[in-house]
Symmetry: C2
Subunit: 327 residues, 2 copies
């Protein structure tokens, strides 16, 4: 863990040494005793002993773009950033090994604030059984948290493996986080019907256990970070197939909390489900006989391209935005 | 490589798909054909086959804190960010394996700008023989580039191994980048005497080959990213020793370009050398008999703590800032 300050000619101040010590202490709460970790926080880089296939990802959350600080406590910002990054390992079916955290902090960020942020990261690291073993501190105009994770997996789940005739599987909820975000943006967080949605946006959970259960069963998988329809498009493009959502099956898979939240927002639950992303559900495809318990069938894979919604009245292509979709 | 956009409820637009394709193309120029790389850009995470000891680091460069866009072309911003991150592997004596790049881009950032940035990253990746095999794109108020690198090494060089009686070794130049940054900050880039310094700040070079040569010879090592005196303090603290710079030896090790640049700035070359960091030189310690050709002796390691400058007239403790130092 090193502090890289702004580009001025100067050495470390004692307050920076204090910051490093503080964050090291907080992050160690996330657990650092993995047999793979040979050297943790405190040197130029972390050292891991590993053999086999490594899965490696990086993800960022930037203030003013991914979140506003008034929307959630710093613990939740740290928690959320870690889980969002971990979700990419879930989508590959990998077991997390360790993480590094890069924190870019505004000058006005206090030590107490830093502790809260790191506490949230450590809490998520513990929940994912993935210690944060190093990282970097930097000054920046806006707060941002960038997390890189390494995991291991024998045979990674890829986006490009979907086959014509596959069932389309959804594991986890979609739409709740999107509804929660809208509630935050509109200042409706006190509405009881929206509480579960707001909570989901603030504290998402990477489906790591579920991802591992898909290994050997699914032909393809992706995590739903950008929106169900958008991530289905990624999967379809990588696999050179058409992805078709069955509206009735998808509606049956929606959480009751989404139905209540959508009603409070005056929005269509199906639209929130298709265009919302940050619940970090898993979308996968595979043979009907191998569908794991817990994964919901929501459609199928056809020859062709694009993403479609099949309703009783007919089929429509899902476009690039919510506005297009409801037209 | 995934695009995570701002937190609005929407799916991918075709312009985002274009951005992903564009950056993939540019980054692939950095070389992606390492036998360790099993899956590169295009899925949720990259996949590597590895065995042995992995060295892992993350580093960031944020607009407004680490650089201003008017100071250097986007190619140089990309190049610089990559080399700065690679320098941590050099300090551990590791051979680079692969990198991931996280780009946070302002809304106004054009595709042409993105291409130039990625071209600089790819150029540095090629120079370091370290392909960029994946990453993440996000929206952000400020441009920032975060790079994580994995390397391999049998026996990593650590900060904490310095022994009393060791020589202190400097490999590479110090102070030039600091002088170059000051020239940029003061708008003096057209002065011939400062040109080499500005160029050094814009295009630093991670001393990867030199770092590997230190393995088996040095007892400790660190890269000089935060300032020579500050990084010596890190090394001394980790090793529980006192680090003493010999002013005469250090002055003899200064580059002629620094002497010219310092004169043009009206600053002390020794102060720029001790407090400047972003040349990414290596500071190491070891036995006199094992000093590698190319590394310069600049001091010694004593019992005690702190960082000192030994001059003919006496010894002074090096404080936390340039201002303290010259007082």
């Amino acid at each position: 863990m090193q502090v890289h300050g702004p580009t001025t000619v100067r050495a470390h101040t004692s307050s920076e040494f204090k910051k490093i010590a503080l964050i090291e202490r907080a992050l160690r709460q996330g657990g650092a005793h993995s047999p793979a970790v040979k050297l943790g926080i405190g040197d130029d880089a972390a050292v891991l002993a590993s053999s086999g296939r490594l899965v490696w990802t990086i993800d960022t959350q930037v203030e003013g773009s991914h979140f506003e600080r008034r929307w959630l406590p710093l613990e939740d910002i740290g928690y959320r950033a870690f889980q969002a990054a971990a979700s990419d390992l879930a989508a590959m079916g990998a077991r997390p090994l360790a993480a590094l955290s890069n924190l870019a902090l505004p000058r006005t960020f206090s030590d107490a604030q830093l502790s809260r942020l790191a506490r949230g990261q450590a809490e998520a690291a513990r929940a994912c059984r993935c210690p944060i073993i190093g990282g970097n501190l930097a000054g920046a105009p806006e707060l941002s948290i960038t997390t890189t994770l390494l995991g291991v997996v024998e045979k990674p789940l890829l986006r490009g493996g979907a086959r014509v005739g596959d069932e389309l599987w959804l594991w986890g909820d979609v739409g709740l986080a999107a509804a929660g975000l809208r509630a935050l943006q509109r200042g409706l967080t006190k509405r009881a019907a929206l509480r579960a949605c707001v909570e989901r946006w603030r504290r998402p959970k990477a489906l790591l256990v579920e991802g591992r259960k898909l290994v050997g069963r699914a032909h393809s998988a992706i995590d739903v970070s950008d929106g169900l329809a958008g991530d289905a498009a990624h999967l379809g493009r990588a696999s050179r197939v058409r992805v078709v959502f069955d509206a009735a099956l998808l509606e049956a898979a929606l959480a009751p909390e989404l139905l209540r939240g959508a009603a409070a927002l005056g929005e269509e639950p199906l639209a929130l489900a298709l265009m919302g992303g940050e619940d970090y559900a898993l979308l996968a495809s595979g043979s009907a006989s191998l569908r794991p318990r817990g994964a919901r069938r929501v459609g199928y894979v056809e020859r062709g391209s694009g993403v479609f919604l099949q309703q009783a009245a007919g089929r429509q292509r899902l476009g690039a935005s919510f506005e297009h979709f409801v037209e």
